[in-house]
Amino acid sequence: MFARVLVAVLLCTGLVCAQSARRPPYPPGGKVVVNDEPFALPSSLDDLIRMSPLIVDGTVTSVLPAIHGPNPNAPSVRTDSLVAIDAVLKGTMPNKSATILLEQGGGKAGGWDVTVNGDTLVVQGERYVLFLAADELSDSTKPPGLPRYAVLGIWAGKVKVTNGKIAFLPRAHPQLHAYDNTDVDEFIQTIRDKIANPPQTKGAPIHPTPPAARQP
């Protein structure tokens, strides 16, 4: 201990001083990759369809300025984008809106360039088939009148359409990647077919006390 104190004194006298606390100040910014914890991570198209209240085919019309989290020093950045809905494959659009606000983690703000591991931010003009979950919590960053949604499973429910072919993001489950390079119209029809033929929610009418059931 004495030796350590002695070294400290010597170093400080040499204009090289120790940090005053265990944790130094935050770095001023930089490029970071973050690991986000999803509440759910669908691994199959059936799961995506079952879990998503809203499935749309849409085009990104605008990427809004990134929003910094409550701690101005931490690399917590979110980017919302406007997506024009070309077709609703499942669910209904609130207020018959033709546009949604798509929220994603990551973006550039406050000196930080944040990328969510496994996810990529959408870009204006890109087309996606999106499996969405509503964000019903309001905050001051939400433009009035626009329904806001997040992609189900962060990266799992975002399907990019390029030159008429679809591709899941790299971190999606291999079962989902089996659909990569499918023609988008064929993929959409697959979704529609699966939605049109779900497990029946209504059974056949029955007699109030069916005779067969009374038998021991």
Binding site: I154, Q175, H207
Partner: protein
């Protein structure tokens, strides 16, 4: 599901005056709510607000209607059964009272994507594979210069935590205590002394429960490449600099409310998991995910609702064995509050 063979009649107990009057049927995994059914789980089917003294009938998998019992004088009825290996399979059930089909009251998707629901649900076989967390991939933490380091370690112990989260320091302390058996002990810090900071972050997307950020020493230009005055360790890019744990507090509280548990209880489980990430543990996820409890081998299971509902609130051997592999020995001791580096004293 052996409802048809083993069901027993039970009187409902809910108060009809407090609930909505439309009749409904619900199916719940009583053993582990909001997770899929598997052998040894107890399932409960409940009917509410149906006709009084009505005949309860079920049609399962297209078979003949089967009379299960009679609603009570308040229009309630319920039954329980225990799943077994023999009941593994897919089911479609429609429930009726006096021949009128009941609507299903299912847990809200996507908050509870793995919960059994009517009319279709599955009784899964027990998962028998391993499901250990592994090491956090290098891409999952920040090196502040855009490059990736394969592994980063704490260069000292104990690691001090602090919380500005609305859950408070005690909740974080409860989570930190769960790791007492690990090679990197935690201790309570302060606003001035914090290696791990737990914060609320309502700006996280709604599908994100939390975010853990591990910074290694390239973030700290003053200390990078220097010798830790306290431990003698070289603070290079394999040394963790500090950790932020960001919590999507509104969503955590909302889902906890739906599960009818305190937000702090659910948060404790999530923070315990995130502290595992702070120790370099990755997520434990099988190749095909069902969310069933037999997949949950420890606190590093990848989905918070299953982790919590399956009772994985403390690290298990699955978590600790991996942690021991990452840390074959504990980092050197350094008293909390000690300065930890001198810049200008390069590593040998």
């Amino acid at each position: 599901m052996l409802l048809l063979a083993t069901s027993t009649y039970a009187q409902g107990t809910a108060s009809p005056a407090l609930l909505h009057p439309a009749p409904y049927v619900s199916l719940v995994n009583v053993s582990h709510p909001f997770t899929p059914l598997e052998p040894n789980d107890t399932v409960q089917v409940s009917i509410s607000f149906a006709a009084r003294n009505g005949t309860v009938t079920v049609v399962q998998n297209g078979g003949a209607p089967y009379v299960m019992g009679t609603t009570d004088q308040s229009g309630f009825w319920s039954t329980t059964a225990t799943e077994t290996v023999q009941t593994i399979g897919d089911y479609v059930q429609y429930w009726y009272v006096n021949g009128v089909q009941l609507g299903a009251n299912n847990p809200y998707l996507p908050d509870f994507p793995f919960a059994p629901a009517l009319p279709s649900f599955t009784v899964f076989p027990l998962y028998t594979g391993s499901n250990d967390p592994g090491e956090l991939p290098g891409a999952a933490y920040d090196t502040c210069n855009g490059s990736k380091s394969p592994t980063a370690f704490w260069a000292w112990e104990p690691v001090a935590y602090y919380s500005t989260s609305s859950y408070g320091l005690a909740v974080v302390g409860d989570a930190a205590e769960q790791w007492w058996e690990g090679p990197v002990p935690f201790t309570e810090g302060s606003e001035e002394v914090e290696d791990i900071l737990v914060e609320d972050d309502s700006s996280l997307p709604s599908g994100t429960a939390g975010r853990t950020l591990l910074y290694n020493q390239t973030c700290d230009e003053q200390c990078y490449g220097s010798t830790d005055q306290c431990t003698g360790e070289c603070l290079d890019d394999s040394a963790i600099y500090y950790v932020d744990i960001l919590l999507n507090t509104p969503r955590i509280n909302a889902i906890a409310a739906e599960m009818n548990v305190p937000g702090s209880a659910f948060a404790t489980a999530i923070i315990t998991h995130e502290l595992g990430h702070a120790l370099q543990l990755g997520d434990a996820l099988p190749s095909l995910i069902s969310g069933r409890c037999s997949e949950v081998k420890g606190v590093m299971y990848g989905f918070p609702v299953s982790q919590f509902s399956c009772g994985a609130t403390s690290p298990t051997s699955s978590d600790l064995n991996e942690l021991d592999a990452i840390y074959p020995w504990s980092p050197p001791y350094c008293p909390v509050g000690d300065d930890y580096c001198y810049y200008g004293v390069p590593c040998d």
